[in-house]
């Protein structure tokens, strides 16, 4: 038991990750005066500010279309949830401090200096009411990637110690224990031993060499351990040499959501170093959306050079196995609708692989009205599912998703992200809904053609 446990008890038995308490409106971390907090926020924001982000800051024409596709505005009608408005203090700071006309803005005081009070007020907009799902990016007539700007704003907020309490606590715990949910190496080892025993499968751990390094989300370790069994069954059929490593298994990266870049880098480095240590040719990321965003698209940039192995999401790997004829599947006699995890599909580019797998399962695929890159978010991404005070808002956005699923009339709801899955579980319990989100991975593992022994 470490200090974080008693300080921020996590309700592991609840259907989703959450921390007790904070009724506090604006959460703050660390002791510092307002000037320093503000200074840190701005430096944190500007630190990685390149030409791309600046271009976005310059380009907004205030058309308001981003609001019309954002689940928070659509469900509440409150204009403060307009995606580009969520960046207002940072936009002001940019125009005043770094933009090409910054001197003019300063001399004539055209943009006021941002205050700490404003940043505190914006905490709700930058964290509680943005899952970084990137739907706004797809509608913007100027092509502004608003979701990526929210990521930069979070860098500033994290540097200034202005992160919602539970998200911050989750990150702190991950940094201290190697997992945000208490899935420490010892816990992982125990779980694996128990699962091997219980399900008579072999789950290699800490092999010295392997072609494939398997990673896992602690959400799966703690809440959906059957996923690990499913992975083992599938890897056996794939015939690959593979292993988990206790020095690099945790695929979640809540630091990325919080905006803690150092933490994000540390978490990614563990996986990268473990993969290099075992000589892996492939690193497989589990059913976890942000893990894909963090390692597949940001990992090499934080590492400082191209990764010497390929990074694939499990659905991509399943599709490969099916194409190579290694995974023979029994048909699933059901109609299915697929929920596209934002970070894997819209912002990750893995749109076809999960559908290829579903086709191989012989399901009747009933797409939602808006799907693929235009899908509605489950409402739990971007770390939002951890933020307790955001729950009422999150349930409202979840209603869009429920309606979408209902409209398809499909019997099964399948996805490939355990963060979406816990959001679905929580929403299901809240609304007493009869649909349970299924894992694509587990569906495949349950429908492998029985082996001829």
């Amino acid at each position: 038991m470490t200090g974080t446990d008693t300080q921020f008890p996590l309700e592991l038995n609840q259907p989703r990750l959450s921390v007790k308490k904070p009724e506090q409106r604006y959460d703050k971390q660390g002791e510092m005066d307002d000037t320093e907090r503000l200074d840190r926020a701005m430096r944190g924001f500007i630190k990685d500010f390149g030409a791309t982000a600046a271009l976005y800051m310059e380009s907004c024409v205030h058309c308001g279309q981003c609001a019309e596709v954002c689940q928070y505005y659509v469900q509440t009608g409150d204009p403060k949830y307009t995606p580009i408005w969520k960046l207002e203090p940072f936009k002001q700071a940019y125009k005043r401090e770094t933009g090409p006309f910054a001197p003019l803005f300063r001399i004539f005081n055209l943009k006021r200096r941002v205050t700490v009070r404003e940043l505190e007020e914006w905490q709700e907009l930058i964290y509680d009411s943005c899952t970084q799902c990137g739907r706004c990016t797809m509608v913007c007539p100027m092509g502004i990637d608003i979701a990526s700007l929210v990521g930069l704003a979070r860098h500033g907020m994290a540097a200034a110690g202005l992160v919602p309490h539970e998200l911050w606590a989750t990150v702190e715990r991950a940094k201290r224990e190697g997992s945000p949910l208490g899935a420490t190496p010892a816990v992982l080892k125990d779980r694996i031993a128990w699962l091997e025993d219980e399900h008579s499968v072999e789950i290699p751990l800490d092999q010295e060499r392997a072609d494939v390094l398997m990673t896992i989300s602690s959400i799966e370790v703690m809440k959906y351990p059957q996923s690990i069994v499913a992975l083992a069954r599938i890897m056996k059929r794939m015939g690959a040499s593979w292993t988990f490593r206790s020095d690099g298994y945790e695929a979640t990266n809540f630091s990325m959501f919080a905006g803690d870049q150092q933490g994000q880098r540390q978490a990614s480095l563990k996986l990268i170093e473990a993969a290099i240590a075992v000589g892996a040719k492939t690193l497989i990321l589990p059913e976890c959306g942000h893990a894909y965003q963090a390692l597949r698209w940001q990992g090499a940039n934080l590492y400082g050079e191209p990764l010497p192995f390929r990074v694939v999401q499990i659905a991509e790997y399943l599709a490969e196995g099916i194409r190579q004829g290694k995974l023979q599947l029994q048909p699933v006699q059901s109609s299915v609708t697929f929920h596209d995890p934002c970070q894997i599909v819209r912002r990750g580019g893995v749109t076809e692989a999960p559908r290829e797998v579903l086709r191989a399962l012989g399901v009747e695929l009933r797409e939602m009205d808006a799907h693929g890159a235009y899908n509605w978010c489950c409402g739990g991404g971007g770390g939002v599912v951890t933020i307790h005070r955001a729950d009422p808002l999150r349930y409202r956005t979840y209603q869009i998703k429920m309606q979408q699923v209902e409209d398809t009339g499909a019997e099964l709801l399948v996805s490939t992200c355990s963060n979406c899955r816990q959001t679905f579980d929580d929403g299901q319990a809240h609304f007493h809904w009869d649909k349970t989100a299924q894992s694509l991975l587990e569906l495949v593992a349950d429908h492998l053609v029985t082996e001829q022994e």
Binding site: H62, M138, V139, M142, G143, Y374
Partner: protein
């Protein structure tokens, strides 16, 4: 008598020159100020090669909203297009405008009949009024709008209106109206680089960049 022609001479001469210089230099400054910032190489393994082609594609595909988004935005998008088309017809179709552009750039093309121009200007003005009313009443637009939005609107509206007035000799002497028209258009040109109106140039860059980033990942743009 001489003051009025002086004003027109000023509008045709030094004012035009100054406006053009400010516009060109301003746009240059704004673009360089942004594009000269760091552009770190993306070290992740691209899913798609030659992703810049996707960037170019996105410059065009973002001209019209996706099916999924249309029900909530298409009507105002259409009004905005009416305004933009009308304005383009007026700027590029009216013979005196073409002559002016020829003087400055050497490029020339046939003009459109004045009836068409008048119609286009009318459509533009009416859609601009509608867009202003929309901005002033819609909660989202009220929230995010600032001085730039309203001032830029005024600077686009005025030359259209004064141009029509001058052409039909409404409300004053032709020379005065023409001078007013030219001066207001010059103010617009000089204001453009410092305001949201710079989207006339910036749109291609921001769409292109996002299109490239997302194409590289094999994602939809």
């Amino acid at each position: 008598m001489s003051t009025e022609t002086d004003l027109l001479d000023f509008a045709r001469g030094p004012a035009l020159e100054a406006a053009l210089i400010i516009m060109v230099f301003g746009i240059f400054w704004r673009l360089v100020g942004v594009l000269a910032l760091r552009r770190p190489r993306d070290l992740s393994e691209p899913r798609v090669r030659h992703a810049w082609l996707g960037g170019v594609k996105t410059i065009f595909t973002r001209m019209w909203p996706r099916r999924e988004f249309r029900p909530r935005i298409l009507h105002w998008e259409a009004v905005s297009y009416l305004f933009h088309f009308g304005l383009a017809v007026v700027i590029l179709g009216l013979v005196p405008h073409i002559l002016l552009i020829r003087d400055i750039t050497g490029l020339s093309w046939p003009g459109l009949p004045t009836g068409v121009i008048t119609f286009a200007a009318g459509v533009s003005l009416i859609s601009l009024l509608a867009l202003l009313a929309h901005r002033a009443t819609h909660p989202v637009l009220r929230q995010i709008s600032n001085f730039d939005d309203y001032f830029s609107w005024l600077l686009v509206f005025t030359p259209l209106l004064t141009g029509l007035m001058a052409y039909y000799h409404l409300g004053g002497r032709y020379e005065d109206l023409l001078a007013l028209h030219m001066l207001s258009a010059e103010l617009l040109l000089a204001w453009l680089p410092f305001s949201k109106l710079a989207h006339t140039v910036l749109f291609a860059f921001s769409r292109g960049v996002t299109g490239t980033i997302y194409s590289r990942r094999g994602a939809q743009t």
